[in-house]
């Protein structure tokens, strides 16, 4: 038996005009378990609130029903009112007779009748309400950033500057990401290294940043505020705590590997740093090209290293880190264009992909910034082909967004560095950014030839060996053309990292059709994800340029800060829980929950819901065949009872 108090609000005439409020109160008094029912002009006013509190004490009420405006309006107000009178806030029920009754009818009979039905439903439901308490948890103040491209670097610095401890995890042996491979950046053509290197150094020096290069996340446990993350430190075979970066070892090393950093254009040593400005400046050994690892003999590096830093016995090790929030900034890969055989990439030496070209321009690159082809010659004519694999139903539907702009950048740099004729084959010129159209206009004046038509095929010239023929339809003149050139540059689609599925699984992220991580909402929550406490920034969310990447990184840092800035956080009280006695182990709940809150306990053979992850949507409760799930505040019994009450009159 409960003791219910019903408080009917007139809201001035807002309600009273089309609902007979006193009749409603009288009706309420006749309902079972209702011990007091009153009406009053403004329930939300101080006297109204005091009346409720007074009655709670006087009548020893254990449930309160406020019959007034929408719960979206004043639920919180009245929750506080009853809480202050010593009742649990979840023992309140609001009956919405303003927005959903008095304001939508002009007939007082109708209005009164419907109000009675709604009130009756509330009484049925109120009887079954249970007090709920929200759990307060401690929040770990540290943040982890995954991926140290420009996005990760920027986010990490921003957070570290606020005084937060940041773990920056990078898969590569150096931080920097793609931006560090570039020579110049559009549209301002400022030197990439000039803006990025200081930031990389900053990361290295920052007392609040723990830089974890050559590392990968292997396990994520916990939830917002309390993630427990395991990181694998891959064996470097060089003890970085001893190494003083003299790099004597790299000179002596006879091993030969292919430089990933230089997009396989040149070779590197087996013990190496990817590029001269790499951070950290300390080498690693590539097991696959190291003579010792391959043949069992060599160890030259060990001999030359005065610091005794070489350690062939080193193993992968695991680091455990606890943080309150995570930013994922793992960037992108370029699409592999080899399967698009019509462009001859990998077959004709004269065909390059965009990142290779970036390296050609770079003064620290394989050609020291000179534009020479694989045969050592400077090209006399160059065709840049846009949209290779992008905006293409057969490969990737999306627009890679930056290709038009970097293709323009390439054209400019080719013009600057060579005397070649430069052709652009494009579908549409997309230059939607601040200063971008202006950059395009500038290129139009630089005597670059623009052909509006997608490059359809690249073949080898039969007349002039070594020369390439680009076939395309010029859609402006509607003419089919065959253009002989020395060099072809492909602008391949920007695609998610090859391992995006692993990251998505680890952090419970959704991905879009292409595999880019999905934001919670494209407009109003572009950096948060469906997993509370996990944020995304940079190209891992979708193709974008550096300015947008940096803006996102700063935003994500701010978002992460909103979590770790507090030392406690309150969890949702209206979460779901499993009654283990009723769980049949079907795992439906595990399959459907958007937040991965339920997990199957294989030992007990029942599901368990992690309240910290649950958002209280109730989906699991409706797919649970044996009604084992209690969706707090919206339990099956409560909903059924409310329905019964609503349908009685």
């Amino acid at each position: 038996m409960s003791r219910i108090g019903v408080f009917v609000c007139h809201c001035g005439l807002n309600i009273a005009k089309t609902v007979r409020v006193s009749e409603l109160a009288e009706f309420a008094a006749t309902l079972p378990d209702v011990v007091v029912a009153r009406d009053y002009k403004f329930m939300c006013s101080t006297p109204g609130q005091e009346m409720i509190q007074h009655d709670i004490k006087k009548y020893n009420l254990d449930r309160v029903i406020v019959t007034a405006c929408s719960p979206l309006m004043h639920e919180n107000t009245f929750r506080k009112v009853i809480e202050n009178a010593g009742l649990n806030q979840y023992l309140l029920t609001i009956v919405n007779i303003r927005e959903q009754v008095s304001w939508v009818t002009s007939d007082i009979e109708e209005g009164t009748a419907k109000s009675k039905a709604l009130l009756n439903g509330a009484v049925y439901r109120a009887r079954l309400l249970a007090p709920l308490t929200s759990r307060v948890i401690d929040v770990n103040p540290d943040v982890m950033v995954i991926g140290a491209g420009i996005a990760g670097i920027q986010a990490a610095l921003e957070l570290a500057n606020t005084g937060k401890k940041v773990y920056l995890v990078e898969k590569n042996s150096t931080i920097g990401g793609h931006m560090a491979q570039f020579d110049k950046t559009f549209p301002t053509l400022d030197c990439s290294a000039c803006i990025l290197t200081p930031k990389m150094d900053n990361v290295l020096q920052h007392k609040n940043i723990s830089m974890l290069t050559y590392c990968e996340v292997t396990e994520v446990k916990g939830y917002v505020g309390n993630f427990d993350i395991t990181i694998k430190q891959k064996a470097r075979y060089v003890d970085h705590s001893k190494c003083n970066a003299c790099l004597a070892c790299t000179e002596k090393c006879p091993g030969k590997g292919i430089s990933e950093w230089d997009e396989s254009l040149v070779k590197r040593k087996a013990i190496y740093i990817p590029f001269p400005q790499a951070v950290p400046q300390k080498p690693i050994i590539d097991k696959n090209s190291c003579t010792y690892f391959l043949k069992g003999k060599c160890r030259l590096c060990e001999k030359v290293c005065e610091q005794k830093a070489i350690d062939f016995e080193q193993q992968d090790s695991f680091i455990n880190v606890k943080v309150g929030a995570v930013i994922v900034a793992t960037g992108y890969d370029l699409m592999d264009t080899k399967p698009l055989v019509q462009y001859g990439y990998g077959k004709y030496p004269g065909v390059y992909n965009a990142l290779e070209v970036e390296r050609l321009f770079n003064s620290a690159g394989p050609t020291a910034g000179k534009v020479t082809q694989r045969d050592g010659k400077e090209p006399q004519s160059i065709a840049i082909l846009h949209c290779i694999g992008s905006r293409d139903k057969n490969y990737h539907e999306h627009c890679s967004r930056v290709c038009c702009m970097y293709s323009l950048k390439f054209a400019h740099l080719f013009k600057e560095k060579t005397s070649a004729d430069v052709y652009q084959f494009y579908i549409d010129m997309r230059a939607a950014g601040k200063g971008y159209e202006e950059f395009y206009n500038r290129l139009l004046e630089e005597n670059v030839k623009f052909i509006r038509g997608k490059g359809a095929r690249v073949t080898q010239s039969t007349e002039e060996p070594g020369r390439l023929i680009v076939e395309a339809e010029d859609t402006i003149t509607s003419k089919f053309m065959k253009l002989p050139v020395d060099m072809v540059v492909l602008s391949p689609a920007i695609v998610p990292r090859a391992d995006y599925k692993d990251i998505a699984r680890l952090f419970n992220l959704s991905t879009d059709k292409q595999g880019f991580f999905m934001e919670r909402h494209p407009k109003i929550a572009p950096l948060s994800t469906m997993s509370e406490g996990i944020f995304i920034a940079g190209v891992c969310q979708g193709p974008k340029d550096i300015p947008d990447t940096v803006a996102q990184a700063l935003g994500a840092a701010a978002e992460a800060l909103t979590i770790v800035v507090k030392d406690k956080m309150e969890l949702e009280a209206t979460t779901a829980m499993v009654n283990p006695a009723s769980c049949c182990g079907c795992q439906n709940c595990v399959r459907v929950c958007p937040y991965g809150a339920p997990a199957f306990n294989y030992e007990k053979r029942v599901s368990e819901i992690n309240e910290a992850l649950c958002k209280g949507c109730g989906l699991c409760a409706s797919v649970c065949p044996s009604s084992a799930i209690i969706a707090r505040h919206f339990t099956n019994e409560q909903v059924l009872a409310e329905m019964e009450g609503l349908m009685e009159f």
Binding site: N96, V592, G618, V623, F634, N636, L646
Partner: protein, 138 residues
């Protein structure tokens, strides 16, 4: 007296319930036959809720959720769509009028749509007449 249908509404908190509030705030008028239960997400709706509503004597049941893609919980309504569609097929094969169950996606800004749907559905149920098949005869 003319037949006044009893219609049970089940609305998700974030879109349809808020949309219904907006209809009120903009003082739109619609028939008063609808009685709404608020749930957090349309996916909370267990098929048995629908069967039960008809057993309790609802002449019609109107389910409101966010538009697909806009669910506050991301994908709840996409599950709801499948589950409610199946519920409807079951009712239909049992020989029950499937038209007594209606599912509408109504966003928080669609107060108009809410009012229109309620008016339309009420008229439709009025046409169908009282629901006696599943209603528990006391």
């Amino acid at each position: 007296m003319s037949f006044e249908p009893k219609i049970l509404g089940i609305a998700c908190n974030w879109c349809t319930y808020t949309g219904a509030d907006l209809a009120g705030t903009t003082r739109l008028k619609y028939p008063q036959n609808l009685r709404v239960v608020r749930v957090m997400c349309s996916s909370r709706i267990n098929p048995s809720f629908i069967f039960r509503a008809f057993q309790l004597g609802a002449d019609g049941v109107l389910v409101g959720g966010c538009h697909p893609g806009d669910c506050h919980y991301n994908t709840g309504n996409l599950y709801a769509r499948r589950r409610l569609a199946t519920t409807k097929k079951i009712l239909e094969f049992a020989g029950f009028e499937p038209g007594r169950l209606r599912v509408e996606w109504i966003s928080a800004s669609e107060g108009n749509k809410f009012a229109e749907v309620v008016a339309e559905f009420t008229a439709q149920i009025r046409n169908l007449g009282p629901q006696a098949k599943l209603k528990i005869q006391e």
